[in-house]
Amino acid sequence: MTNNFDEKLSESQDSEQAVESSRRNFIFGSVAAAGLTVAPGMMLYQTANARSLSDFSLNEKASSQVRWGMLVDTTKQVDWNKCVDACNKEHGLNNETHSRDDQKTQYIRVVDVKNKTTGYSMSLPVMCQHCESAPCVDVCPTGASMKRADGIVLVDRHRCIGCRYCMMACPYKARSFVHEVLTDQTENTPRGKGCVESCNMCVTRIDNGQLPACVEASEGAIIFGDLNDPQSDISQLLAKHGGKQIRADLKLNPGVHYQGI
């Protein structure tokens, strides 16, 4: 199966307008429907000038005008395991039959953090942080680990040789290695023995105008949007309430921001 990203790379921008128009309408409809089903905090509506997911389609290349990101509000009382379950379902994870627990793939995990001095504790979901200066992209010898123009970091599984240097380099431990032959894969997430994989921000969903699975399952605690667009919800929330990045000291400028950490 060729994934949608490969298609996007190869397809030119001047595709048939009619097809695009109908697809756009369909995507808009899908997003509207999705918007109605998620929690009110999602606020999928956009102002007149803001770009929304529905402005992007499969016929367009990923644009460097956009930087997709997420804002996780850890102060909300949410069962983060719902995000993990949604991710596992979307990408067909947890289907290993031989691997030990420490060999199984996890794209997103719930991390419990406790301050030893004060006793304050919290939980938060941690996935690929989609860094602007991604160490995994820098160290990959073949360029399989790459960053799309819109800031999404992902692995080209046709190019990955399984050297695992990206896993050594990632400060967030966000990547997993496929330790065995896998069957029953989902259509949008080809996974193969001997390759490295990680959260790809549900790139095929985004390209289809849908929200990432964890965002959809987060009951409004994870906001997804364009960090480059000052009018987007995520940018406005960050401007108003601020946000932190995990290991900001490393200056990798992750696309995933957190509130309450």
């Binding site: 719930v110 991390v111 406790k114 030893k116 160490p135 992209v137 160290v139 997993s176």
Partner: protein, 400 residues
């Protein structure tokens, strides 16, 4: 100094075929172990998503580092014009290629997708030190190959010094590149040190010369050629200096890390609370791999070749332990997601990762040593690498 005569080792003997079969078998077992791991996937190994690089990497990096060091003897001869080392220069160059080949075989066969080697050879990311290493390794083989040619083909002897200098500079860059594989990893406390690159260079001097001394003494013993004390004593004295230098770097590396609060915990993990890693550090690396060899090489009571051989074997074991602590210990220590906080998760955040090497991993690593020795055995029988005699009156430039 009398004239040197190089001659091939007699290939049609029982002894030669015995060594050929032994090293061939070790190589074959290594390749079968790799096939087993590739066929099933890495779940049959001790490696996991926390300890990503396991025992094969320890052997591979050891052999690659030793490869660069094995070239030292040739460099001392060609670059620094020490005529005493000239008879050994050919063996030194050939051994360095053999060690590098053994290391690369292990590295390649431990890839998740070794069948995609062609991708690694055609798709490059020049920001990656790994990509640079691909060129450094293949370039090293080419340059040392030319260097050997200039040594062995009389009309080109006048180019030996230039080729030797090029190879010398290249090998320094190569080991810097190998050390930098770890030095560039900002995310892991154990590796975040600029000292790693120079430390890898001095490690290469020590491990490479230990391997060289064993191959030299072994090949002369089993071919009944004469090897005088002059050359052996020079080499073992030099080896002692290198062992001491590695020890010095290990001390500076850990003491400087202890001084900075950021790296203190991981250093204390290695030095005191790291279980197997602490044992390997103090007992195998420091005592068995550094102090004991220094005693054996320099103590007046142990001045014989058996003790030098023992010292060389211990230096190699100590080197493997040192790399095991750096590579696997550095991964087992939990990564700091939230510095200063206690963290836990289903993905083993905040806990020391468990890793137990599996038999196939170990066999693949040993297989790399087998490949190295197989190449050496074939090479000394095929081409004129070894002088027919290294008796003192021939090897000692001051002998009348």
């Amino acid at each position: 100094m009398k004239k040197l005569h190089f001659i091939e080792v007699e290939g049609n003997t029982k002894g030669f075929f015995a060594f050929l079969s032994l090293f061939g078998l070790i190589s074959l077992i290594g390749i079968l172990a790799a096939y087993y791991m590739e066929h099933n996937g890495h779940w049959v190994t001790g490696m996991n998503n926390q300890v990503i690089w396991g025992t094969p990497h320890v052997f591979a990096i050891f052999l690659i580092v030793a490869a660069s060091g094995a070239l030292n003897v040739a460099s001392i001869s060609s670059v620094f014009s020490k005529t005493a080392y000239k008879p050994l220069a050919r063996l030194s160059g050939m051994l360095s290629i053999a060690l590098l080949s053994g290391g690369l075989v292990v590295l390649l066969l431990d890839l998740g997708r070794p069948d995609r080697l062609i991708v690694a050879m055609t798709e490059f990311n020049f920001v990656s030190i790994f990509t640079w290493n691909i060129f450094l390794y293949t370039g090293f083989m080419g340059i040392v190959g030319v260097y050997l040619w200039t040594m062995m083909d009389r009309p080109y002897n006048n180019l030996t010094k230039k080729a030797g200098l090029t190879a010398f500079i290249w090998r320094l860059i190569l080991t810097t590149g190998t050390g930098s594989i770890f030095g560039f990893l900002i995310s892991r406390e154990a590796y975040d040190s600029a000292l790693l690159a120079p430390m890898f260079i001095i490690m290469s001097f020590s491990f490479g010369l230990a391997f060289f001394l064993l191959v030299l003494m072994g090949s002369y013993k089993y071919t009944q050629r004469e090897l005088g004390d002059y050359i052996v004593n020079r080499l073992k004295n030099l080896l002692g200096v290198f062992v001491a230098a590695v020890l010095y770097f290990a001390i500076v590396y850990h003491v400087t890390n202890l001084y900075s609060a950021e790296h203190r915990d991981v250093t204390l993990f290695v030095l005191s609370g790291g279980g197997i890693y602490t044992f390997l550090f103090w007992v195998v690396q420091i005592f068995m791999g550094s102090l004991l060899p220094l005693f054996l090489l320099y103590s007046p009571s142990t001045q014989n070749r058996k003790m030098y051989s023992l010292a060389s074997v211990l230096i190699i074991l100590g080197g493997l332990a040192q790399l095991y602590v750096i590579i696997i210990g550095g991964q087992a220590y939990p990564m700091e997601l939230f510095p200063g906080m206690e963290v836990s998760s289903s993905f083993y955040d905040g806990v020391v990762a468990s890793y137990a090497p599996s038999l196939p991993e170990f066999l693949l690593g040993i297989g790399g040593i087998g490949v190295t020795l197989l190449i050496v055995t074939i090479a000394i029988a095929a081409l004129k690498f070894l002088p027919i005699s290294l008796a003192d009156e021939i090897a000692n430039p001051h002998s009348k």
